[in-house]
Amino acid sequence: MKTRGQGSVFSGDVPAIIMIVLSIGFFMSSVYLALDHFNSIKANLDIESALVDAASVFLKENAKIKPSDLSSNSQFWNLRIARIENSKGVKIYTELRALDPMSACFNEGECVAGKPPPDNTELLSKRFPIALKSGDTDLEVYPALVKISVYK
């Protein structure tokens, strides 16, 4: 028989119940963390996949793109890029910049399409070389860079 002072609240079923509650809590928080991680990675993968798709479009259109194609109401934009935006649930902002001052689109902000990403938005952005047709004939093709920014 226990005398006064020897008994403990941590006797009997109490420790087991505490451990069961702790175990379930720990496991549930792990599930929550894992799901959270899955969702954020999935969002990143959507963005990366949209970026690769958009880059592929510009790869196919090398030397066919004219400065006027880079505007949000151009047919090129709506057919090719808006389709990626819709299928991946992302927004794409594109900047085209010629590397030769003789070409159109040499100045920053001159040839852009899409909605510029708001400040502090998490975005993924890559730049690709591209040949830009700029001039009266098809024989004036300049080196240029296309910068694609993808965000949710």
Binding site: F27, V31, L51
Partner: protein, 195 residues
């Protein structure tokens, strides 16, 4: 049962609790490990795809970009690959030499891309596994020939394409004769790697 092996009230439940905690810890660790590795491989694939697209885009750009610097040049408003083709036709593949017209055009464009993008680029004429050292135009000062390319560049992404040129000595381009036509062909390669 001997007295010392007998569990007192509460000890069995504590054992159950400990076992449950252990199971929960193992399951949680496995779950967190799976979630942390999820997406790693696709991300690596996308990065590789980007490098690959960079090489392909550069190669395609070179085909399309026209020479517009000098109206008196025979290559004015012609693709810079026409200049490469002309050099090969005249038996010259020293594109790496400063002063080589086609080599200088290539160098200018690759240097501009390199400065803007922070990646290095290399143009070379290849034949099978052989890179012709004298044809190398590289933006990386540590890459001057095939040996230094293999030594100093870890994992480049490369894209290659064929280029035909009017028949001269077909061995210049390393590719041989293009069928029964009066043309030879060469394989050129654009490699890119991070600075």
């Amino acid at each position: 049962m001997p007295k010392k092996f007998m569990l007192r009230k509460g000890q069995a439940e504590i054992m159950d609790g400990l076992i449950l905690m252990l199971i929960a810890a193992i399951c949680s660790t496995v779950l967190l490990h799976i979630s942390s590795t999820y997406g790693v491989i696709p991300t690596e694939i996308y990065e590789e795809t980007y490098a690959q697209k960079l090489a392909q885009n550069t190669l395609l750009s070179l085909y399309h970009i026209t020479y517009l610097d000098d109206v008196n040049s025979p290559f004015y408003k012609k693709s810079i690959m026409v200049a490469v083709s002309q050099e090969l036709s005249s038996g010259n593949r020293n594109f790496g030499n400063v002063g080589n017209v086609a080599g200088d055009m290539l160098r200018n464009i690759l240097q501009t891309y390199s400065q803007e993008l922070g990646w290095h680029f290399m143009f070379a004429i290849i034949s099978g596994d052989t890179i012709f050292d004298e044809s190398i135009v590289s933006t990386d000062p540590s890459v001057t020939n095939s040996r230094t390319f293999k030594q100093n560049v870890g994992n480049p992404s490369c894209a290659s394409a064929a280029l035909t040129y009017p028949k001269g000595d077909c061995s210049t381009g390393g590719g041989g004769s293009a069928g029964n036509s009066n043309m030879c062909y060469a394989i050129f390669e654009i490699c890119t790697w991070q600075s």
